[in-house]
Point group: C5
Amino acid sequence: MNRLSKRAIRILTSDLRKLVPMRRVPDQRPPALSPDTMVHVGEKKTESVNLHVADYGPDGLRELTTTSVEECVAFETKETPTWIQVVGLHDVNKIGTLLQSYGIHPLVQADVVNTKQMPKVDSFDDYLFVVMRLLAPDSDGHGVIVENFSLLLIDKVLITFQESPTMLFDPVFARLRNEHSRSRQNGCDYLMWALLDAVVDNYFVVLDTIEGEVERFDALVLEQTHSMDPGPIHTLKQQVFHLHRLIRPAREVAAALARGDSGLIRDATLIYLRDLYDHVIHAIEITENLRESAASLRDFYLAAVSNRMNEVMKVLTCFATIFLPLTFLAGIYGMNFQHMPELGVRWAYPALWGVFVVLTVVMLWIFRRKRWL
Amino acid sequence: MNRLSKRAIRILTSDLRKLVPMRRVPDQRPPALSPDTMVHVGEKKTESVNLHVADYGPDGLRELTTTSVEECVAFETKETPTWIQVVGLHDVNKIGTLLQSYGIHPLVQADVVNTKQMPKVDSFDDYLFVVMRLLAPDSDGHGVIVENFSLLLIDKVLITFQESPTMLFDPVFARLRNEHSRSRQNGCDYLMWALLDAVVDNYFVVLDTIEGEVERFDALVLEQTHSMDPGPIHTLKQQVFHLHRLIRPAREVAAALARGDSGLIRDATLIYLRDLYDHVIHAIEITENLRESAASLRDFYLAAVSNRMNEVMKVLTCFATIFLPLTFLAGIYGMNFQHMPELGVRWAYPALWGVFVVLTVVMLWIFRRKRWL
Amino acid sequence: MNRLSKRAIRILTSDLRKLVPMRRVPDQRPPALSPDTMVHVGEKKTESVNLHVADYGPDGLRELTTTSVEECVAFETKETPTWIQVVGLHDVNKIGTLLQSYGIHPLVQADVVNTKQMPKVDSFDDYLFVVMRLLAPDSDGHGVIVENFSLLLIDKVLITFQESPTMLFDPVFARLRNEHSRSRQNGCDYLMWALLDAVVDNYFVVLDTIEGEVERFDALVLEQTHSMDPGPIHTLKQQVFHLHRLIRPAREVAAALARGDSGLIRDATLIYLRDLYDHVIHAIEITENLRESAASLRDFYLAAVSNRMNEVMKVLTCFATIFLPLTFLAGIYGMNFQHMPELGVRWAYPALWGVFVVLTVVMLWIFRRKRWL
Amino acid sequence: MNRLSKRAIRILTSDLRKLVPMRRVPDQRPPALSPDTMVHVGEKKTESVNLHVADYGPDGLRELTTTSVEECVAFETKETPTWIQVVGLHDVNKIGTLLQSYGIHPLVQADVVNTKQMPKVDSFDDYLFVVMRLLAPDSDGHGVIVENFSLLLIDKVLITFQESPTMLFDPVFARLRNEHSRSRQNGCDYLMWALLDAVVDNYFVVLDTIEGEVERFDALVLEQTHSMDPGPIHTLKQQVFHLHRLIRPAREVAAALARGDSGLIRDATLIYLRDLYDHVIHAIEITENLRESAASLRDFYLAAVSNRMNEVMKVLTCFATIFLPLTFLAGIYGMNFQHMPELGVRWAYPALWGVFVVLTVVMLWIFRRKRWL
Amino acid sequence: MNRLSKRAIRILTSDLRKLVPMRRVPDQRPPALSPDTMVHVGEKKTESVNLHVADYGPDGLRELTTTSVEECVAFETKETPTWIQVVGLHDVNKIGTLLQSYGIHPLVQADVVNTKQMPKVDSFDDYLFVVMRLLAPDSDGHGVIVENFSLLLIDKVLITFQESPTMLFDPVFARLRNEHSRSRQNGCDYLMWALLDAVVDNYFVVLDTIEGEVERFDALVLEQTHSMDPGPIHTLKQQVFHLHRLIRPAREVAAALARGDSGLIRDATLIYLRDLYDHVIHAIEITENLRESAASLRDFYLAAVSNRMNEVMKVLTCFATIFLPLTFLAGIYGMNFQHMPELGVRWAYPALWGVFVVLTVVMLWIFRRKRWL
């Protein structure tokens, strides 16, 4: 049974390690380049960058999936809201061409292809640039994918950028295809909210999983503290802290959007963004609780080990303290002196046994009184 | 006696676990739905949703208990203040109908039926939406019920929402039925305060119970640290931290109400809301003290275990250090060498006893001086 | 000597427990009552509530001690400043009558008789309500009395409320009786400051006592860490934290008064109130230092116990490590094999002693090099 | 060598104790007196209070050292800037006369002679009152003098107050005597800055010394953790925390001056005061680093002791675990049973030795694999 | 293998010590001098101070490297932007002459040559003074150079100051030499940004190295906690804390620049400075994570040692507890009493072996059940 739970811990730990990837990708940006030169920072991929365009309005929805920027720009009409979903950030030229056709500042262009960019909101006269972190369970459900998700709100166009394809936004697409949905009736700012809300909703899915792990761990530690290795607790704590740091910057982003400083967001959408802010606060609240729980777990582990050591110590002390004088006495009468009067006494041996028993009883009584046994 | 107190701790711990339910209810909201679609999040119940309507004024009080929204809306008169108490949130259609008849925003409707919504105040032009956490001792007095309590203040109507029936608001009802009470003379904003005050007052009832538990625990730990298991201390700390997190958001809510930004709250009511804020601050102050006490308890426990181990260690060391050389000497003269001149000496055996006694006395004196005994 | 200091610690601890009373008085307010109904919260007393009225001005001072509210109100003249000192809060009717005659809001009336009210300043159009905590050494000088002290500044009248008689304000009275004192020349706002200053000055008296205790403790711990029980350190820490929480809210009160928002405080008095604020900040600074010292004391205690354990451990290890092989060797030659050639060798016994000595010296040298001895 | 470093620590500790005096001077202010009565709080001295007056301007410098206030006031001319340096605060009458001649508020007068006054800036219409803490190495270079330094800036007069003579301001005097120096060209506000800058510069001298001590300590702990007493580390931490608390309030003072709210400070001087603020921030930064280092040192000490204990434990365990079975076997063949067939076997004794060797080798191999040795 | 990793740790530690130099350079400023006198604080060097001047514009670039201030000032034209790079700060006169020719305030002149100046932004009417910390890997790639980098933006001139030559700004020079680069098209404010951006970019290079070390360490500790010395962990923590303190002040500097209060920074440059602020925030975020990781590492180390000790303790206890009674029994029958009936019994010896085996099995079973083995 003990062996079983040891294995359980090992599995748990390996799961944890997969859960939130903590490996840093070294910053591959060549320092000699001007900082507003577009350089893709992140894993290089060979697949082509995909563009999914959806031109929609109360009257209809036109969709196009392409890999050509020209096709995409030609497809879009200026009158109705359009969502351009860019999947893949490694083709710097293509993305540069797309962004230049909308007159985006070079620094923003560089930020779009930098997959290590911190979450932020940059408000310009003509457009709004938002970077958020996207957390989603990976395909086999044991790990978590952490990517950047950035978007540009340009009046009637919303361009979103993501590194790899994800099913996260499928429900948003579904609602867009439904002609009675609010998404169809509203502009790009509402769509932006719907997408960010989908992102934040997935924080909860991830947090729920981690919360379950922490609880499973808590139960494990409470149940069998003796033979436990502190490694998994350390890993858990690091994971939870890492998660907290991943989610925390979302607060600033949501707060900036909810303040509604940008003219591109209509007043009717502000209430939705304030709701988004509430959700982000809730997510951060959960991570803070997780941090506290993980820290508390470690403290408890230390206390449990200390307590265990204390108990073991007491047993050792009692045994040693009882047997040391007895063995000494036995040693005495094992000596080979020629003149040891006790050795010849008939009742000496049984008497010594009596002494042994009395000594033991007295010591046990003392230990009992001191509550060592 | 020791056994008794061990049992006491076990009972205490099981009580603690019941006190504040820490199990997360998984968020059952289907992620594919639009976030402003009303979905009941929480335990599904089969009982019907109850509406209790009280239309009151200085001149009279008319009451109605119904399960039909139509009856409820028909019963209410626009001229006098009305309190609609909704008990049960699982019938989304019914609540939706009620809220739509007052023109409430879909997002607020969704928040009303989401029992995991964080406490907040949302101020709109025509209405004020308040979510608070309701903590109350449960029926058998050992645990705590934690629910959301939300209310909508719409000029002359106050709609309150709660998940399960509670006796918490009975005193408010009683005062409403008393025709000379201030509640009857004042509008819905005063009633809102009276209800929120009842909610906050019950925080103190719960906190009082927990404070008593912490004190009982503190006494227990001070009294018998030797054989104590760190588990209950860990659980206590987790509970108190959880409680703190439950109550903390009330501060923002009370502060927002006391600022009186909403036009729906009359100036005469503001002093009452400021008083509410004072009470909330007091409650949070208490939870912070509890947090500190619980953390301190753990530290003390660790110190006590360390100290205990130190004492046990010293006894072990003294015993071993005294008996090891004595036993060695006894071993020497137990050897069977043919040529051991001491063995033939007449006074050798009593002389050795002398050596034993002297050695023991000297070592005891050393330990005494080093304050090990 | 050891026994003596153990007793010293015991006395110290019992003193500490008395110093700041940490027992909560359960909130006796019946939850069914409206929150603005006056209910006395606190110890019920049987003595009558005393009113001491002092009507003063540059030209004279008229005093009256009575138990009748009517007499008190009749005695007071509207032209000159008057101080009404109410001692005892348990007679709700009497205090209610007094306050109603000055048109005080019901909520403030309820706060006056609530002895568990947190310190605060409430500014109204016609009056200013201040609640402060009063800390004073008790009659036998070993404990501390903690009470609320509240006051109402109503233009030309200052009403102060305290639970039990205290000599704290005697110097203020003395100055009022001196016809050349500033108190006589100034109005009620100056008197309010004089009273609050007397309250804060007594914080320092209490803090001075506690500071002395902490220092005495620090010296005790530094001197004899071996046989010390962590209980008193835990108690000391709890006491100091409790004290900090008692004094901390005074900061907000003093700050609010020093800002001088109320029209009832003349500009000439503001400089005095700013001085009061300085004093409060100083008092809080001292409690924060005490907190740090108490926390540091605990850390040091743990370090000292660890260090002690380490030393004891090393002695045990050295002794065991030296005697175990020696005893083993002695055991070898105590065996009764018929064919043990060494036993017959003449110089075997002294040679073995040589081995014993060499072994011991070598091991001592090793321990010396490893700095275990 | 070990003994030597023990002595080094002892010296270090005694130095540390002297470094920053932590003894509280009990507040000797009689509580019955009005708080704005001037009472000297601090050590009573018998020497006379000295006044050094310097009336200066671009054209010349006139100096006077006197003990008479009348002489001092008569000497000063209203047209040119004058610095009155008051050394010694115990003669309340003399200082009161001086301050009254400049129309200083009684509360400020009381603050001047209170040597326990916290650092602060009080801005009045006609004058500015500044209190700072003065830290300077004492005459024998091992300890630190901590005093209050307060000053009054009254348009064309600067009065400074200090408890005891110090050479701290000699460089400022020297620059004042140099007719081409900026001090001579500028007014009292510039002089005020020069003096405060001299005060803050001496913080760095003290901090430099303490920083050296901390580094020396760090090296000592890293080198020889085994036999170290945690006392000095505790003392060091307390000292550093105390120092931090002494210097911290200077931030508020410097910030208030740098904001330049007072009309008595010319705009040209503001840049100097902002520089002063930078220096104070730097000093506080250093104390914060020292706090962290001291706290880290304690943590490291605990870790080192733990590690040490672990190593000692392993050695003890290995020895005991090897010799316990061997000794048991030797004990077996030391028994006196008449029928023990092994005893008669010729090769039994060497065979047993073989068993001893094999057992030992196997156990050593196991410990090696478990990395205990 | 164990020995190998011990060596690995030793190398790691020595690397760490070199990484961030923590030795304080004592402040060599003579305290008797006026604080606005220029005094070089830092290492004295003998090489001449170098000035590199680059006068550039869209039309061309003129460069000059000289050691003469006069040449430099003569070379610069007022119409086009000019960058004067000053390398070496020890020649106070030369730098003073240069700064006076631009009318820089004496205090700023003093700050320029003070290499211990804290990072800050000082905004004047005609110029902007910025101090930043420059972190760069040193020539052999194992350590880090920490210097101050200050700059003065004076409308059409940018003067930068650095202590020693560095290749950090080579890419900026390269872009300046490229006639189509943005640097050439823009003014000095853009160049200032480019330089500060190069500085901040190098923070990441250093942080990346340290992050790698921390991860390497984390892996090492997880792998082999038994024989590890806490020294390197302590050093690592100190290093990381030191690094955090070095980088932290950059936040205030970047924030002040991004606010764009100075009229010398054009609006078009503000977006670049806001990007700089983002980068600084990111760098600080990383150092905070490193702090947390280092602190967590120490906690984990302590937990691992505790756990280890617990395990060792249990083995010791089991062994001692099994062998103590057995050895005692063997001792009994080694006694030389004449009347010990058991000794003559034929099956006594094998029976005793039976007792030995049964005792051992029972005790092993007990330990197994208690999960000590």
